[in-house]
């Protein structure tokens, strides 16, 4: 039997599994002199799906922008795989940022490229694959998020949900094992949202992807989250950090219980009463 060994040349540092994927230490963030969050610390472990939640204006998206290094925190530190993103020089920061796949609220697809080209973009920039290989990889990603039939459409021709799904495919293109998703299911119909949740869980299960998801869709939170981190705009702090079920049933904080126990049927009773 003829045997050939194909070995990856530069294997690069393998994720240790010990270090947290992301750790936020004593972070203070805000805009100008307005502080949105003070002295926040938490960790996201490998293979975990962590949801950041909180009411409108509590700084969920800003926290995500701090984690991915788009905004510099006022104080504190953000570590990606054990390395500080805040103190890193430009080259290291770019390398760390490349290891994070990010989906922005509105997809942030490049308007001048079609969907396939958008998903292929990171592969074009950072790999030596041939065009056919890049196309196959990109199309498999589009298949995963059920966007293959729309591959040749321009972003302007897509609906909100399609933009988000294409955005997720692009975020995953470089095989990032840490994904940050900003409100992935906001504005989607329940079926598409459930499919997206399924995609996230399958990525976690099959590829060991770590996910940080900013959302306030309760159903989605209970479906995907291993842990929920809740921000409060008034006390400007993290007021909860635990499994969503635990928070719903046992949290000592009323704000947290209220958030998790929002009962649409009570409102319905109010409407009819």
């Amino acid at each position: 039997m003829a045997e050939t060994q194909l070995q990856s040349g530069k294997s690069g540092p393998a994720p240790t599994g010990q270090r947290p994927a992301i750790s936020v230490r004593n972070l203070r963030m805000g805009y100008g002199t307005r502080v949105l969050l003070d002295d926040a610390s938490f960790e996201v472990h490998r293979g975990e799906v962590v949801v950041i939640l909180g009411g409108s204006g509590s700084g969920k998206s800003s926290l995500m922008k701090n984690i991915i290094g788009l905004h510099a925190p006022m104080a504190g530190d953000v570590l990606v795989d054990g390395e500080s993103l805040v103190k890193a020089n430009a080259t290291d920061k770019a390398r760390l940022q490349r290891s994070l796949g990010v989906m922005y609220q509105s997809g942030a697809l490049f308007g001048s490229m079609n969907v396939l080209e958008n998903v292929r973009f990171p592969l074009d920039q950072f790999t030596d694959l041939t065009l056919a290989e890049k196309n196959l990889t990109a199309r498999m990603l589009l298949h995963t998020v059920e966007m293959l039939p729309a591959e040749s459409l321009m972003p302007g021709e897509l609906s909100g949900g399609m933009l988000k799904r294409a955005g997720i495919a692009r975020a995953m293109a470089l095989g990032c094992d840490i994904l940050l998703l900003d409100e992935p299911s906001a504005g989607l119909d329940p079926i598409t949202a459930a499919n997206l949740d399924r995609t996230i869980l399958s990525l976690r299960k099959n590829l060991g992807v770590t996910c940080v998801v900013v959302t306030h869709e309760l159903q989605s939170i209970f479906a995907i989250a291993d842990r929920a981190i809740m921000l409060d705009p008034i006390s400007r702090a993290i007021i909860a950090n635990d499994r969503p079920e635990t928070l719903r049933d046992f949290s000592p904080d009323m704000r947290v219980r209220q958030f998790f126990n929002r009962r649409p049927d009570e409102l319905r009773a109010e409407r009819h009463g």
């Binding site: 294997s11 196959l136 591959e151 321009m154 399958s202």
Partner: protein, 361 residues
């Protein structure tokens, strides 16, 4: 190893990721191509990590067209990855990525002609709408948002003063100098004053100001309104029962009618002054220049320039707004709108200038 002796075995090792996959992918495909008739066994037992590019690699190997019996089998792949791989069906990816169909030359020409005709029809309809709005505004001046008009006039007019002054001055200098050099050979330097006067007042003052504003203001109008359209602000305006033409276009047109003639007068003044300065080097004093000028040009010349400027102003504002309103979706189309606004208004300005020249000769 379970394969028969003539099996080809490919052992994959280590981490196959976006960064490391390229050479492995190539060699694996080569091995498959070298052994078209033999079954291939891919041993994944020593794989440490596989990202989506690695998955694409494995999938690509299994979907290759092979001779009957020469199958490609993957062995010892982690069950979760195998399940993931099982979700992809080769026929889903059979069609090559669709490309836009290439049009024939004749079809290109036909489509372009149809597009331009449609555009002209649309533009005419839009100008009609603008004129109707202007007539409305004349009969009900209170309905116009004069605050908006002033804001636009400040941005379009006051902030454009430096560039218009510079252009006007340089135009006067250049014409006086070029014509002066030729005229000196015939001893007719004093007639250069007539030339500079008529050229600046009737033609260049208005034309140069309009071209500067087409680039500056026309593009800005198109980009502003285009972005509003992309952000669905235009839809919001419509659903409030407001007419985008009255609400967005009219203030801009009124502002343009107001400021383009004023800027043209400024350009005229500095242009003549620039011409006068150059003429001093041809031994014609400032006093001589202006005495001669008063005899050479009439109030009609000045008025003609100003009327032309007002027409150019309407054209720039209307074309800019029209391009903005016609913006498609996305950032690219905003850029296209701005470009089309500048190009169309400059072409129209030159055409209208030509019409004026014919009609007033």
């Amino acid at each position: 190893m379970t394969g028969a002796t003539d099996d080809v075995c490919v052992v994959l090792e280590g981490r196959i990721t976006a960064r490391t996959a390229a050479p492995i992918w190539q060699s694996a495909i080569e091995i498959l191509a070298r052994n078209p008739d033999r079954p291939v066994l891919i041993d994944a037992s020593r794989l440490q990590y596989l990202d989506n590019v690695g998955m694409a690699l494995l999938f690509d190997l299994t979907r290759q067209e092979r001779a009957p019996g020469a199958t490609v089998r993957i062995q010892a792949l982690a069950p979760n990855l195998a399940a993931l791989l099982g979700r992809y069906e080769p026929h889903d990816f059979a069609a090559p990525p669709s490309r836009p169909r290439r049009l024939g030359t004749l079809e290109d020409i036909g489509r372009a002609a149809a597009r331009h005709l449609l555009y002209l029809k649309e533009l005419a309809g839009f100008l009609g709408g603008c004129l109707r709005a202007l007539r409305e505004a004349r009969s009900h001046p209170g309905a116009v948002n004069w605050g908006d008009v002033l804001d636009v006039a400040t941005e379009t007019g006051a902030n454009a003063v430096p560039i218009v002054l510079l252009m006007g001055f340089l135009m006067g200098v250049i014409i006086a100098f070029e014509v002066g050099l030729v005229a000196r050979q015939f001893g007719a330097v004093i007639f250069v004053v007539n030339g500079v006067g008529v050229a600046m007042l009737r033609e260049l003052g208005a034309l140069m100001t309009a071209i500067v504003l087409a680039g500056r203001t026309g593009a800005a109008f198109a980009a502003q309104i285009g972005t509003q359209k992309v952000n669905e602000e235009l839809n919001a305006i419509c659903t409030f029962g407001l007419d985008p033409i009255e609400f967005l276009v009219l203030p801009r047109i009124l502002a343009a009618i107001l400021v383009v003639p004023l800027l043209t007068i400024l350009a005229d003044i500095v242009g003549l002054f620039g011409g006068a300065l150059v003429m001093t080097s041809f031994n014609i004093s400032l006093l001589q220049f202006f005495t001669r000028l008063l005899g050479a040009v009439t109030a009609t010349d000045l008025m003609l320039g100003i009327i032309k400027a007002a027409v150019f102003g309407v054209t720039i504002a209307a074309v800019g707004c029209h391009s903005g309103l016609g913006t498609g979706a996305g950032a690219t189309s905003v850029g296209l709108s701005a470009t089309s606004a500048v190009v169309t208004s400059i072409v129209l300005i030159v055409v209208i200038d030509g019409l004026f020249a014919v009609l007033t000769s």
